[in-house]
């Protein structure tokens, strides 16, 4: 038995992945999270015990906050080519201040949303055939998991949104739906699919093109390699509301194939001729979709923005990792959890003077010159976060944190604007 009184924060939103499940009951004992009820394994790991360091460090040693902020401002003001990076576990409110700082500094800015670059660029070329997750729940009678089993990286996608729950037009839940797995090489769909279609990785994009042609009633392919795909295309066209689920986050740090992302959009759009279809692109956690939304509304571009000319310029192929690798950057401001940084960005930051403000900043492997630990958005800090389908949700912090990211970043912004 614990000596601490227990209290529970209901309807908390988890940012462990892009599902942003908001049905978590966070049970707090004393200064730690004792339970995160309803959370999946990823969610349990994300909440952890809620304990985070509260250090403030300058050049590796402890320092008062005011000195750290002064030093951070000094570093950033002196930089010739500063970079701002919006890492994970930040609220949209802090992201907004982060973009303001980049604007002020004429800095480059990028975010964790860049991990889904292939899918974002495809959507910019062709558009989207999309739906919020709840619409998939209400309508989808035929679901194709395209080279992804959400169980690993989006554990509750199936149970909360797409497959199992009862919806308006799917009164029997899973039994109201046909689930098809498309296995592309080692990237396999769910094990319990009703049917499977297997494709060689080299055939994947061609197969999507052949399927689109079949949906549009154009000359398809007689190649036997594509016949199962063509049959799947016809099955989708016969559905009342088809949904294709694909992972927008790359596997094992390999960049996602831009042609594949675009072919998926094109197929989903074409299916809206004979029937309705939505493409559900899975995105990771930490409120990266919020970073995409905020950057888009403040600059017009979703990631990889450069304020160097005095206005936002889009450099989708020269984001943070590329700038760091080219040695262009001399100082960086990392907002959010350094532990969420993509490997290439984390590695590149090791070579520049960095300021890190966020959860466990003091433990950042890039050894920042200034590190200020804050709470985690959704565990200690409040604000707004976006689900992978761009639905905004409030955060319901359960614990007091070391200091709020919002107030800390605002204080830095005010110093830089003074």
């Amino acid at each position: 038995m614990s000596a601490f009184p227990r209290r529970t924060v209901e309807h908390a939103t988890c940012l462990g992945c892009g599902c942003a499940c908001d049905d978590i009951a966070v049970v707090v004992e004393g200064d730690r999270v004792a339970e995160a009820q309803n959370a999946c394994a990823l969610g349990l790991a994300w909440f952890g015990d809620g304990r985070v360091p509260g250090e403030v460090r300058v050049d590796g040693g402890p320092a008062p906050l005011e000195r750290a902020l002064a030093r951070a401002a000094e570093i950033l003001r002196a930089a010739a080519r500063p970079l701002v990076y919006l890492a994970g576990d930040l609220s949209c409110e802090v992201q907004r201040d982060g973009v303001a700082i980049a604007d002020r500094l004429h800095a480059a800015i990028d975010s964790l949303a860049a991990t889904a670059a292939a899918s974002v660029l495809a959507a910019q070329r062709r558009g989207r055939a999309a739906a919020t997750l709840g619409e998939i729940r209400q309508r989808a009678d035929c679901l194709v998991f395209w080279a992804v089993d959400p169980a690993a990286r989006y554990p509750r996608y199936r149970s909360r949104y797409a497959v199992d729950p009862v919806g308006l037009q799917t009164p029997d839940g899973r039994r109201s739906r046909t689930v098809v797995a498309v296995d592309v090489g080692p990237a396999r769909g769910p094990a319990d699919a009703d049917r499977r279609v297997t494709l060689a990785p080299a055939d994947e994009v061609d197969a999507l093109g052949v399927m689109r042609a079949a949906v549009q009633g154009r000359q398809g392919s007689d190649d036997p390699r594509f016949q199962p795909a063509v049959e799947l295309a016809h099955e989708l066209a016969r559905a009342r509301y088809a949904v294709i689920v694909a992972d927008a986050e790359p596997l094992d740090a390999a960049p996602a194939d831009p042609d594949r992302a675009e072919a998926l959009v094109a197929l989903a759009q074409a299916l809206n001729g004979p029937t309705r279809c939505a493409l559900s692109t899975l995105r990771g956690g930490g409120n990266r979709s919020g970073a995409d939304a905020v950057l888009t509304w403040q600059t017009g571009f979703p990631y990889a923005v450069d304020f160097a000319p005095g206005y936002p310029r889009y450099r989708p192929h020269a984001g943070a990792a590329a700038l760091l690798a080219a040695g262009e950057v001399d100082a960086a401001l990392v907002l959010g959890a350094p532990a969420s940084l993509p490997a290439a960005v984390a590695q590149g930051l090791g070579a520049v003077t960095a300021v890190a403000i966020g959860p466990r900043a003091s433990a950042a492997p890039c050894r920042p010159a200034v590190a200020i630990d804050t709470g985690i958005a959704g565990v200690h800090d409040g604000g707004t976060a976006f689900r992978m389908d761009d639905v905004p949700l409030p955060l319901r912090p359960a614990l007091p944190g070391p200091r709020e990211a919002a107030a800390t970043v605002r204080a830095l912004r005010e110093r830089l604007e003074a």
Binding site: G127, W297, G300, E417
Partner: protein, 548 residues
């Protein structure tokens, strides 16, 4: 403590139609955030002699913030790249990008630089309300409100099917409260739900008239319109239902528009972007403006905004999903569709209106016909349905078309004539709007229709939102570059330059309702929603627990 800021705008020619002032030389006095009858003689003066003084502009229908606007921004990086917007030269100013959907700060700056100080975001999916408010927080200077999309929402349909009109009303009130909304917006009632319910080829995934069943035979566009119009009026909302009719953009749709107006006869209702709903009956495209505006002229309970088409680039962005599918299919342009769970939709297609294109020329002419044949400017508001018919930056050009017949006739000769037979414009409409009428259709009228008693006029007690123009026979130039703009008593544009960008305020309603509806809503959420009832809406996010 210093005295509240005072200012005497001295000697300008004042157009304040709400107070019966039509071009009189007089002073306008400001104390703090309000207009006052007088200020001491030693108060600071703004010399407005020879200039035209009007209340700040009020845009009754614009798409400037929120989920669908942001989807559209994300779709158009090439536009943003072509329209960089460096920060204006004042402390704290922000850079951004322009194009048909500017970034948020640029949107606020540009509205203010045009002399507009109040803007209504016309289509917010309640599910995305939190997002819309966050964007408006980053849209400076202008006061803004959000119209909440109803009329394709499953919960409403259930109440209509069950005959529960009182509960439907309570639901609408609850929704406006939790989303911090200002008015009820109806888009293609029933049609968006039909589009989302799937199956059937594209042509059948919509409703075509007021009596098509939507799922249940008890739910029809007519019943949706009646239920929500009655709810808005019973709740005493300052603005009535704001209606985007069925069959937008289709030849012959004037019949649907008139049927909708008749269905709501005797009820207050606002019909938006009327131009897109005023094409005449019979085969092919033709103007139906005359019959539609004649109905409006004869029915004082009806108000409209025009949704003028302006030649040049636009972006069509609407909750009317099936319309955008057709536009994509016919134009071949890129297309976004996002179905929004249990309540609405979103469709986006970039579009260009060309003078040489027959349909675009007809649309342009229909809009002008509506303006020029309207008898009561208080009920006919200037709009382009930004950015659908054109952007709000084209308002000055539109004002010139209305005020300058010679210019308008010259433009008319340039456009494709193929579909203009029967258009009243060809008969040589000689009307020219006066400055007083422009002041009505751009500020006094929309403020009154929105139920904003402190806006759109310059009487004592009004909010000190004032625009001062330098007269110019080229009315487009005159209205494009006001000399001074004052927002809530603060000078934001001086000598034609934006000088500061204070935050705007949010306009929202909180109608009273029977809270028993929330018990039923909780059950509905538990059965179908993908987020917690408690997390729905746009209430400020809860704070962190007390610090250590």
């Amino acid at each position: 403590m210093s005295a509240p800021g005072r200012l005497r705008i001295a000697g300008g020619t004042v157009y304040d139609p709400a107070n019966g002032v039509d071009g009189e030389v007089r002073d306008v006095c400001i104390e703090g955030e309000r207009i006052v009858a007088d200020v001491p003689a030693d108060a600071p003066r703004l010399d407005a002699r020879g200039m035209v003084v009007m209340p700040g502009g009020v845009d009754i229908h614009s798409h400037l913030a929120g989920t669908s606007v942001n989807h559209a921004r994300r779709l158009l990086p090439e536009e943003h790249a072509a329209h960089p917007a460096p920060a204006p030269p004042f402390a704290g100013a922000r850079s951004g990008t322009g194009g048909t959907l500017p970034s948020t700060f640029v949107t606020g700056y540009r509205y203010a630089a045009l002399g507009y100080t109040t803007v209504m975001e016309a289509a917010v999916a309640p599910l995305g309300a939190r997002h819309a408010h966050a964007e408006l927080d980053d849209t400076p200077i202008v006061d803004a409100g959000c119209y909440m999309l109803l009329g394709n929402d499953e919960y409403l349909f259930r109440q209509i099917a069950a005959g529960e009109t009182a509960r439907a009303r309570d639901y609408a009130a609850w929704l406006l409260e939790v989303t911090r909304g200002y008015a009820i917006k109806i888009v293609n009632p029933g049609g968006v739900a039909a589009w989302k319910s799937g199956g059937a080829p594209a042509a059948q995934r919509n409703v075509t008239g007021l009596d098509d069943p939507v799922g249940s035979s008890a739910v029809t566009p007519r019943r949706i319109l009646e239920t929500l119009a009655d709810a808005a009026n019973a709740l005493g909302l300052p603005h009535p239902v704001h209606i985007h009719c069925n069959n937008l953009g289709r030849p012959g749709n004037a019949a649907t528009t008139l049927a909708t107006m008749r269905a709501l006869a005797g009820r207050r209702a606002h019909f938006t972007h009327l131009q897109f709903h005023s094409y005449g009956e019979g085969a092919g495209w033709k103007s139906g403006a005359r019959e539609v505006i004649e109905y409006v002229n004869a029915h004082p309970e009806v108000s409209v905004d025009v949704g003028q088409v302006m030649f040049g680039p636009a972006t069509t962005v609407t909750a009317d999903g099936p319309v955008e599918y057709l536009l994509h299919a016919t134009s071949g342009r890129k297309w976004v569709n996002v179905d929004i769970e249990l309540e609405s939709g979103c469709g986006i297609v970039p579009y260009t209106y060309r003078e040489r294109a027959a349909v675009a020329a007809l649309q342009w002419a229909v809009g002008l016909e509506l303006f020029l044949l309207a008898r009561d400017p208080w009920r006919v508001v200037l709009s382009t349905d930004h950015p659908n018919g054109g952007t709000f930056f084209s308002y000055p050009e539109l004002i010139r078309l209305l005020m300058d017949r010679a210019y308008r006739d010259a433009q008319l000769r340039r456009v494709n004539q193929k579909l203009l037979a029967g258009s009243a414009l060809l008969d040589g409409l000689d009307r020219e709007y006066t400055l007083g009428e422009i002041a009505i259709v751009t500020r006094a009228g929309p403020a009154r229709l929105l139920g904003l008693p402190h806006k759109g006029h310059l009487g004592p007690g009004a909010e000190a939102d004032v625009t001062v123009y330098a007269p110019d026979p080229d009315r487009a130039r005159m209205f494009a570059t006001p000399r001074y703009v004052i927002k809530a008593g603060e000078l934001v544009v001086e000598d034609g330059q934006l000088r500061r960008a204070p935050a705007g305020r949010r306009l929202a309603v909180r109608p009273a309702y029977d809270a028993a509806v929330t018990r039923d809503l909780r059950r509905f959420f538990a059965a179908y929603a993908t987020l917690a009832f408690e997390n729905y809406g746009a209430a400020p996010a809860p704070p962190a627990p007390p610090g250590r």
